[in-house]
């Protein structure tokens, strides 16, 4: 996979977040991921660039989807994969993140894919190990591979990212997806608008690159090319952040009527898993505008690209 600019090389040791990446890095990852997506669609087995490499999935939070996606990506490239859902192992018995990391590090893996409930968890790990660390979600901080797969999906559907109006709606405050995806879209020239209940909009979203952060979903939908709905955690709906599920759906749920306010060919996305009837109507989630299953497909392609670049596949 030749880079777009001959003088460009991917130099990162880890993928801890979108923050710190250059637009050229993102374009390079997306191009490589795109080629993997095409191979998979064409039934072509990719080159086993990670043969002899060991990838460890270290998930301190349960996430079957993301862990499987990384596992499939690594196996497709020929790596040996060990998946450790540590949520129910020795870590619960008082072993710290660092102790676990040191133990695994001694086994000389080539890449550690880590998900942790604490913001900065992946960063902390990366200071203590010798191999590449890929952040698969740290607390409410970042989830870079999700952002990259969102961008790849958008690029394939829309043919470009630059200049698009993207609306991200939901629990912005607690969403690592919102942070990473907003930053990545902004870096690639999209105009990002955030929307959600006032209690779930954090300060300083302009520093992520968002053009606005408001509470009027209908107004911001006007002219939107892409509408991305975020999952609303059930514990936020019990009256502490917003009154009720039905009130949330009334103002922030994506319905057919509401989607009609966006551009006619607007694309609907969701990082999953969805709460049907809370943030999105089933008719929309399963309808022609939705690219939600494509996002999952692109997830594997993006993770193939990231593992390829970081786990030692230097082609």
């Amino acid at each position: 996979m030749a880079p777009r600019r001959p003088d460009y090389t991917f130099t990162h040791e880890h993928l801890l977040g979108i923050e710190g990446l250059h637009p050229l890095d993102i374009a390079h990852i997306l191009d490589l991921a795109d080629s993997y997506a095409e191979k998979t669609r064409g039934g072509i087995r990719p080159d086993p660039v990670l043969t002899g490499k060991t990838v460890v999935n270290l998930f301190f939070e349960n996430s079957t989807r993301t862990m499987s996606s990384f596992e499939i990506a690594a196996r497709r490239l020929g790596a040996d994969v060990v998946s450790m859902p540590v949520a129910n192992s020795s870590v619960k018995k008082g072993e710290t993140l660092i102790d676990t990391a040191m133990t695994l590090n001694a086994m000389k893996p080539d890449a550690l894919v880590v998900r942790h409930s604490a913001s900065g968890g992946a960063k902390l790990l990366s200071r203590k190990v010798d191999c590449a660390v890929i952040n698969a979600g740290d607390g409410t901080h970042e989830h870079p591979t999700q952002a990259l797969l969102d961008l790849l999906t958008i690029r394939r559907v829309k043919g470009r990212i630059e200049g698009l109006k993207v609306v991200i709606c939901g629990d912005i405050a607690h969403s690592r997806v919102a942070r990473s995806t907003t930053m990545a879209l902004h870096l690639m020239g999209a105009r990002v608008h955030l929307c959600g209940p006032r209690t779930l909009i954090p300060p300083g979203t302009d520093t992520w690159g968002a053009e606005s952060a408001g509470t009027d979903f209908d107004a911001v939908l006007k002219g939107a090319d892409v509408v991305m709905m975020l999952r609303l955690q059930l514990e936020r709906m019990n009256g502490s952040f917003l009154p009720s599920r039905r009130e949330y759906f009334r103002y922030f749920g994506l319905t057919a009527e509401r989607l009609a306010l966006a551009k006619p060919n607007a694309t609907v996305m969701h990082p999953g898993p969805m709460n049907r009837g809370v943030e999105i109507e089933s008719k929309i989630a399963d309808g022609p505008s939705s690219v939600i299953t494509q996002q999952v497909e692109m997830g594997v392609a993006v993770r193939e690209a990231v593992l390829h670049l970081l786990a030692g596949g230097k082609s």
């Binding site: 710290t96 913001s119 960063k123 607390g139 954090p202 300083g204």
Partner: protein, 426 residues
Amino acid sequence: MSLQIVNARLLDPSTDLDAPGAILIEEGRIKDIREGAEATFTGVKTTLDAGGLCLAPGLIDMRVKTGEPGDEQKETLETASRAALSGGITSFVVMPDTRPVIDDVALVQFIAERARETSKARIYPAGGLTVGLTGEAMAELGLMADAGAILFTNGDIPIANAQVMKRAMAYAASRGAIVMSRPDERALTGSGVMNAGAFAARAGLSGIPADAEWIGAMRDVTLAEQTGCTLILDQVSTARTLEIATAARKRGAKVYTTAAAHSLFFNERDVGDYLTYCKVNPPFRDETTRQGLIAALKAGEIDAVVSAHDPQPPEEKRLPFGEAAFGAAGLETVLSALLNLHHDGPLTLLEAIAPVTLGPATILGLPQGRLAKDAPADMILFNPGKPWLCEREDLLSRSTNSPFDGRRLQGRVMQTFVGGERVFKR
């Protein structure tokens, strides 16, 4: 047994003295002070030439935590004392939130005795305001005060119930006891781990908003006014909190304020990439707020600066930011942090040392903290401009969780005296 220190730059905030001179010490007390570069006393057994170094009262630190009793692996009274003396602190108040909590007479006596046996610094126990610091039942404030508890506090977690707080303050006032309270509306602080705002939001960390401190302060100064209790607002982190205190003071309330030395030095950006040594409560605020705090210190609105020394071992700090313990080791960096505000800030040398000498001495009614005839000869000789690199490994505290680790600082204590006896020399 007499000692004179000559050729010193005498610094005493209580008399606004900043002049060359000599000082005579007899039987642990300051016997006489003479100004003048050539000043000496005759018939003195021992003479020490200060070589032009600053001679100031020993520092008084109103807020120190150790791990004794219960968590001696963090810090003991003895290790804290050694760290304190090397930082120029000759007197300090230890917080009651140990295991067990210092909430009865026997424990107050235990601390006082252990301090006498093991430590060369003067250590004053603070008593728990409520039994077990649970915020429910008033502790034996009168008996503890009689046994030597210098003030009463509920520690890091203030009493949530305003009625309990009001009664404790009313009772304390009737015994002439001082109450120190961390202004903090816990419901707003919640699970926050750093200053609330754009920086925290971007890092995905939950924030501690300043309004939690304002609301806490408004409650506590109101109760101080109502009960006549002497109140110390502990570790104020914003200028607006000081306004609340000043307004109450104008109405006649006996309210004092303190600030942590590290919050005058660092801002929220120092948290950087989740540096847990910078995890403290109150948190490092934004730069505008820090500048506001410095301006307030210059204006005399902060009565005392404290180290807020809170030793935490590596296992409490080598964790993801949200899970790490709050607290910073601070005994050895208070003076440098304040001198930074002299070198790079608006304070004169006297203004820089007043909040750690005269300020706390006045609040607590202690005779030390000044260069005055008959005052205890608790003093430091320091070089205000001496540069040094603060490295964790060199700190004397048993826990070295210092946010100053790796920082270049200016100003160093060279010798420390308690009761006329030299207890530290660098």
